[in-house]
Symmetry: C2
Subunit: 345 residues, 2 copies
Amino acid sequence: MATIGDVARAAGVSVSTVSYVLSGKRTISGPTRDRVQRAIAELGYRPHAGARALASSRSNVIALMVPFRPGINVQIIMQFVGGVVTTAREHDHDVLVLTQDDAQGIDRVAASSTADALIVMDIESDDARLPALRALALPSILIGVPDDTTGLSCVDLDFAGAGRLAVRELAGHGHRRLVLVGASQDRLDHRANYAVRMRQGVLEQAAAAGVEAAVVPAEPTFSGGAAALDAVLAANPGTTGLVVHNEAALGGLLARAAERGLRVPDDLSIVAVSPAELAAALPVPVSIIEVPGERIGRIAVEMVMARLSGEELAETRLVSPAFTDHGSVTAPAGAPAPAPGAVRP
Amino acid sequence: MATIGDVARAAGVSVSTVSYVLSGKRTISGPTRDRVQRAIAELGYRPHAGARALASSRSNVIALMVPFRPGINVQIIMQFVGGVVTTAREHDHDVLVLTQDDAQGIDRVAASSTADALIVMDIESDDARLPALRALALPSILIGVPDDTTGLSCVDLDFAGAGRLAVRELAGHGHRRLVLVGASQDRLDHRANYAVRMRQGVLEQAAAAGVEAAVVPAEPTFSGGAAALDAVLAANPGTTGLVVHNEAALGGLLARAAERGLRVPDDLSIVAVSPAELAAALPVPVSIIEVPGERIGRIAVEMVMARLSGEELAETRLVSPAFTDHGSVTAPAGAPAPAPGAVRP
DNA sequence: GACCGTTGTCGAATCGCTTCGATCGTACGT
DNA sequence: ACGTACGATCGAAGCGATTCGACAACGGTC
């Protein structure tokens, strides 16, 4: 491999001149710049990443901690990772993957100057990694919002807002009895923050709109969804509107609804909170509030870059939820059609 | 951050001694070693990754090229990535993620000594990246087997074997008319090697066993699966055995079967080729031939390590398929029960 | 014409580690 | 008692970049 010295020789300039052409940190005359760039192209020169990192104390790498725990929503994780990697490249950075259970991963990557910044996914309300992250010299961005965000940068979908939006959507169509089919008991026990916030948003808005709302957990499986629907109908007869925040259970839930002779949306209106792609995997179209994985990934990287250039302090950013109508929400049978505009009370 | 010099001073030895304690490349006496290690622990010293890479021309990083194209089977990708990352850590390496469409990614990572080796997923029979990979100075491992493997290291499930195994399983139970519901037309057009090899295995074994076999492509969606079943029954009446190599379509296919009053396995025996976890997402248990994503990831990394230590030349490794019975294969209605042992003719 | 501020370029120090050759004891064989 | 090995350690030379201070050349000012 050619080194910067080879380039300098080929262009008839000094090493430092080549470096300045590359970084643009000092003015170099047009002709010299051209000669250097020609030499670079001819030799196919690329700066040695390690040497650059050593001299500049910048690795141009972002570490990304990804959960590989089974049962996790893989779809959204991949979208997110895709967003991070793509955006990082746009800023001339690469992405290093760490696993959730690589306990020393954070420390190792930071102490060895392997990465310039850290993005951590799947944050729980009271995440065990928070102390380590707060103590970190590197900027870190969390996906998810813990209880105490002081000194931390976070991004996520506004799940509370999504819960409210879903309820507004249903209540606006005249539904009075709603149920949130949410995360599994396991996730709730782990205090997955999205589940907590979602529930809170749903209950809050239901109270505000004067409609009933209950919460039923569901295992993230086909049979979990079926069981959840049974549980909903057993415990909350008269339920006409469902908010489903559990992609894996949705298929089973819809199948059981069909078995029981309930039609969507005629007998049961449904809003799902999930990645947009899920639709393709379902027997009937379902209106959704999208969890914009890729977009959140983009934002996370942009926050990293802002922090690296010293522009920005820690902040929390919540992406506004948006409702996409696929026709799975209508007025419940026997209810008066809602007045126009009533959908957004 | 502490440097190796700080450690040396704290331990009262020279810098090189510390280095040798760390690498074990020269003998160091017990007492000295202890003192050095104590100093390392006390200072929380970690070698600077860049400096190490510069001096040793080893980055301890493996680059992994991941497809983020929509419609891909995310489940298996994640399993695979998990296997790679976990195994890499066991060998003290980190993993850098490249996207499929980062055309210069391979070159960049190689020329800048960012990574020591490259793992490339989702290889097509005649993949556009093959020339670049062959020309590469770094060892590279392909997931998937192109037409021409000279000079390349590949690993994958033995899809041809999986096809044969599926057919043996069905034919052994007495099925005479089989259909492979395979990859989408789009994937076939791209000559995805797994789809090609799968089809070949199925047809080969069907011929050998003297049973009929047809191939029907399916879009990787719920409705694609439903449509595929309709197509199967329209074009191949009397089909009693299905091999489904298209996870995303399986749900729709099963739903349509139920709609048409076909019961699994009584009217229709099914073998799916898919990751093991899929089962949770289906309404009925389906026997599968597992695509062992994590295991393939492990093997890929182990091949990388072997290549890096110069032990091994390029080779292709195919993982043997295994059948996991979940009861979705029985003798077709009206057929004589197969003789015991006939399942593996 | 002496002085000064730019502009463009260079040389050398530096980043933190690995590794090769040299050195210094000490134990061993004879 | 002497040469020889060998084990343990050190010093110094890189590895390939970045970056700072120095400085020559040049045009403009008084």
